[in-house]
Symmetry: C2
Subunit: 355 residues, 2 copies
DNA sequence: GCCGCTGACTAATGCGTATTAGTCAGGAGT
DNA sequence: ACTCCTGACTAATACGCATTAGTCAGCGGC
């Protein structure tokens, strides 16, 4: 029963040749008529009508595979993710991008190929050539921290159109789209300043991820634009949980610091430490002290009051990535735009108390 | 202008002919070697090795369209969604399935093609032949309420392997996977009975969706298996918000009803009404009255105490759908399995108060 | 010394469309 | 009367791969 499938599949599927026979014309004519006659061939209206009628009568529908083969492109954009973990973790990082990717791809007439990458330890995991699979798509989006740079470089150097979601400067020639952490962080500082804060401290973790650097830069930019000196306003904590204590907080408050800003990281350690310190000191935000988070809060803190800060526009990033990729495909132009983050009012920052 | 595009798309996309040239063999040989030599042609090991090496060196990947056209397989599974709603709404219905789909597909060595369907009003929206696009993939998963039945029927009748996520009996010959609402609802009733409840009432909305019918059936099954008469225990509310009032609730409690069960629908109206009535009557669950929900709570009630009830195993459904589809592809067997729902303890049901 | 074989390939063809070169009958022009 | 159009099509071919018929050199057998 199943081996009949291909035969069966063909039986009911009329092709252009059949339509042509019924209409008494050639297959070429059918193709031209049904294709909208983009080549501007002169056609007699009657012929057009006969072809259309025949096509309708047979219920002709073009075979997408043949169509794509003939057009030498398949209208497929790839999405390759390296997010190593599955369900829960992915839910918070992978999907939001996809929302934008899907929307924008649909709007441009592309379908998506989801490469079941290293993310799920699938059939291809470990395969050193696994990345080559993406060539099946016209171009591909990449996302995730742990992309094998060598393989990706190979692809790019061979002229394969690729766009990375997230800044990626190490790889020459790789197009990417990223969020503008610098501007967003500066804006958070400006908002705090507008509320009246004059002494603001940033708590960051002690590594050198580019995303952290950008936030610090934005933070300093913000201070500068408000005419606030940056002396002692950035604190690096190797172990936030241990270093950001209630005592530490009290000390800084005594010095006149009224607002604290934490960077967002995957663990959210700095922010957690800050919250704990405030609580430990018997204070509340924003009544006693203002807090802001340079990013989105970790999912497990969803119940807490919404932090003042900014949101990374993941869907918009996804859409921007698709735009960049299609630009690459059609015009060959490589662009690596920054997408603006949205300021989030939140409920953890307010005016400082009048002493 | 268009010929530029194809040239561009092709650049860097090696075909078998190129691999052949590099390996010093014919295109046929390349095809045979890379295709796993299913025709049992005798090949010199060295030749095989050379071809493999050449393919790796060029990063060769077969063109899915050509492959499909030549009547072979792609290792691509399609996913076509009709969830016509927007990102946020989609987040709660579309993605959870995908998690399971992707996982299972990866485990079986398939990649996924996400057909950007009517879901986003994309380029193909309105196109009456839009569904035919899925033919690019070996088989396709469908999900969503509003699938154009005619087009889908066409595909199925032509022998195209399709599986619908969610029960779908109207379409003869369409394979589907669904959640076992009957068994899950019965179990909820049994649990309530175990806690000591003897009078239980189900509140359902007044439509006739199959999912609603299944839940009611399960509810009645549960009562029966516990030896509880079903008289007056099912209430249909056309307008739950208006009919499920605190007074109504008090009345039933006076009659000895100790537990209330609501069906899940997309709006969650029955459940909302029940919660409001309990609150309006100045009662709390599970202290004064036990509540259960036959499904998952609406997302906006995430802050409320977790309802006792069951969860639809969306990821598992997705995985089951992939299994059904691959079964169709390999053995041709059509199966339409029911997947069990997981009982959710929750915090809204307890033992009834000893009067 | 010619036959038949076997091992190791390759030429040719088909899948269904889109495109690019024609073809061909009938009028305009000279 | 012959060329030159032009309008209305069509033949041929490419797309990239899978498959089905070969091809061909070498070798044992009689």
């Amino acid at each position: 029963m199943p081996e009949k499938q291909s035969a069966k599949a063909r039986r009911g599927r009329p092709r252009q040749a059949e339509v042509a026979r019924l209409a008494g014309v050639s297959q070429t004519t059918v193709s031209v008529v049904l294709g909208g006659n983009k080549q501007g061939i002169t056609l007699h209206p009657d012929t057009t009508a006969r072809v259309l009628e025949a096509a309708r009568e047979l219920g002709y529908v073009p075979d997408p595979a043949a169509r794509r083969l003939a057009a030498a492109r398949n209208n497929l954009l790839g999405v390759f993710s390296f997010t190593a973990t599955f369900p829960t973790a992915v839910e918070h990082s992978y999907y939001p991008f996809l929302v934008g990717v899907e929307q924008e791809a649909a709007a441009r007439g592309y379908d998506l190929v989801l490469f079941t990458g290293s993310s799920s330890g699938g059939a291809h995991a470990g395969d050193s050539g696994a990345l080559e699979r993406v060539r099946l798509a016209d171009g591909c989006l990449f996302l995730g921290r742990h992309i094998p740079a060598d393989e990706l470089r190979r692809l790019v150097e061979h002229g394969y159109p690729a766009v990375h979601i997230g800044r990626r400067d190490e790889l020459e020639n790789l197009a990417w789209v990223g969020a503008d952490y610098v501007a967003a962080s500066a804006e958070v500082v400006r908002r705090l300043a507008e509320l009246g804060h004059r002494r603001i401290v940033l708590v960051r973790e002690d590594d050198d991820a580019p995303a952290s650097g950008d936030r610090e830069r934005g933070f300093r930019d913000g201070l500068a634009s408000e005419g606030i000196a940056a002396t002692d306003s950035v604190v690096r904590a190797g172990n936030p949980a241990a270093e950001i204590t209630p005592e530490w907080l009290r000390g800084l408050r005594a010095e006149g610091v009224t607002a604290f800003v934490a960077e967002e990281t995957d663990t959210g350690a700095a922010w957690r430490a800050l919250l704990a310190a405030v609580e430990g000191a018997g204070l509340t935000a924003p009544a006693d002290v203002s807090l802001a988070l340079l990013g989105s809060p970790p999912a497990d803190l969803a119940g807490r009051p919404e932090p003042t800060g900014f949101d990374i526009p993941r869907a918009e990033l996804g859409a921007a990535a698709v735009r960049a990729l299609t630009a690459l495909l059609t015009t060959g132009e490589t662009e690596s735009p920054l997408v603006a983050c949205a300021f989030r009012q939140g409920r953890t920052a307010g005016s400082p108390r009048r002493p």
